[in-house]
Symmetry: C2
Subunit: 220 residues, 2 copies
DNA sequence: GTAAAATGTCAAGGCTTTTTCACGATTTTT
DNA sequence: AAAAATCGTGAAAAAGCCTTGACATTTTAC
């Protein structure tokens, strides 16, 4: 999977942009026609497509439509045309952002950074040295992977998504085990214990998962 | 969690937009000041914020910055100003899209639809009557939940993400079990069997998970 | 058509996760 | 300060998941 696919027939401009992006640690590929772009995308996939509208042969709009048919990959449209119609039809068509040529490279980089952040950081919950990815179900403490069982993971996500809020035990139990569960609430305290052992620096003196007496727990 | 939070001090306009959105089955709340918007957002959360820049008191940019500090919730900025600076600073700041007042309500609805689709459909893989959500780890067949074990789920996602492609058994095995696994490849065929029993209409005549003799499997 | 190779099936077992239970420790109430 | 309520802990039982091996079935090659 490529990070960024640049679709641009001006090789000099594409090369320049490519250098800048690689300097920011993105992996980049360049296609100078719409057809090549689609074939590269088919083969390797991409996290973001920077798409020039004016291309020889198949134009950018056609590329955008084709890609939109099969995926939600973010597309940033680049165009020399200034007509409003183009901008709107591009965005409605499914592009995530739009920039006019000639553009300031810093602004383009900022837009790309923004798209990446909004699009690919959304499934991560972060708090200090703790990082939880809801898609890959992975937990990292100081960037070291922490093994979690399913129940522990669900419990951690619930607590972290309500950081600072006290969740009462009935609520937690219903969220994780379901209201029709036959298990006992004692089960919850055992899972809290294991979670503390995995994420607290000193499990005997929990700083992150705090007990709220008579109520429940909260993540701080 | 609210679907859409409208931040707009013109109550008539906000009400109108609200009606249109509710007609499309979104849940909607309205805030007429930036402060109220932030407090509503704190309390309930929102999937998308439609944010007018010109507000009494705290302006839209300030609201946008505050929300961006703590989350990646999509923001659609609405503004009467036409200066280019505003547009750009709003977008770079982290907004997902931009529309100028007075706007055509259909265009706004299209933009909102686009944001929702790009932002919230990305973790779902759909194929015909089968729907897989990678975040909640849930699988639905004809909208009925199908229970999956972890290995079955991973295997299904791998196959579906490579729909139409034949994956050879070594590849599948390395992806799911890891290259240093001591398990035998026989394990894979057993999991394939279970997966077929859960997602195929007739598990004895699999239509979706096909065997490619001497190579591996593919999802069609 | 037959033998060889590859895949499918089933049930048993082993392993991990989850739950339960009993008891000890801590906090709150009286 | 004692009693009551609540929470924490460790071990063991229960449940669920994964793997394995033996054998059946299907496909391919000769």
């Amino acid at each position: 999977m490529i990070d960024i696919l640049i679709v641009e027939d001006n090789k000099e401009l594409a090369g320049l942009l490519c250098d800048f992006l690689r300097a920011e640690n993105y992996t980049v590929s360049i296609a100078d026609t719409g057809e090549k772009a689609l074939s590269l995308y088919e083969k390797y996939g991409a996290k973001l497509i920077v798409l020039d509208i004016m291309l020889p042969g198949m134009d950018g709009f056609a590329v955008c439509r084709k890609i939109r048919k099969e995926s939600n990959t973010p597309i940033l449209i680049v165009s020399a045309k200034t007509e409003k119609e183009d901008k709107l039809s591009g965005l409605i068509l499914g592009a995530d952002d739009y920039i006019e040529k000639p553009y300031d490279i810093d602004i383009l980089l900022a837009k790309i950074g923004g798209i990446f952040k909004r699009r690919y950081a959304i499934d991560e919950i972060t708090d200090g040295c703790l990082r939880v990815n809801k898609v890959s179900q992975a937990v990292y403490k100081n960037d070291c992977p922490v093994e979690m069982t399913a129940k522990e993971f669900d419990l951690l996500v619930l607590l972290m998504e309500n950081q600072g809020k006290t969740l009462n035990k009935d609520y937690i139990f219903n969220q994780i085990w379901g209201s029709d569960s036959l298990s006992e609430q004692q089960t919850l305290t055992v899972h809290i214990k294991w979670l503390r052992q995995k994420i607290e620096d000193d499990p005997k003196n929990p700083k992150k998962i705090q007990t709220v007496w008579g109520v429940g727990y909260k993540y701080i």
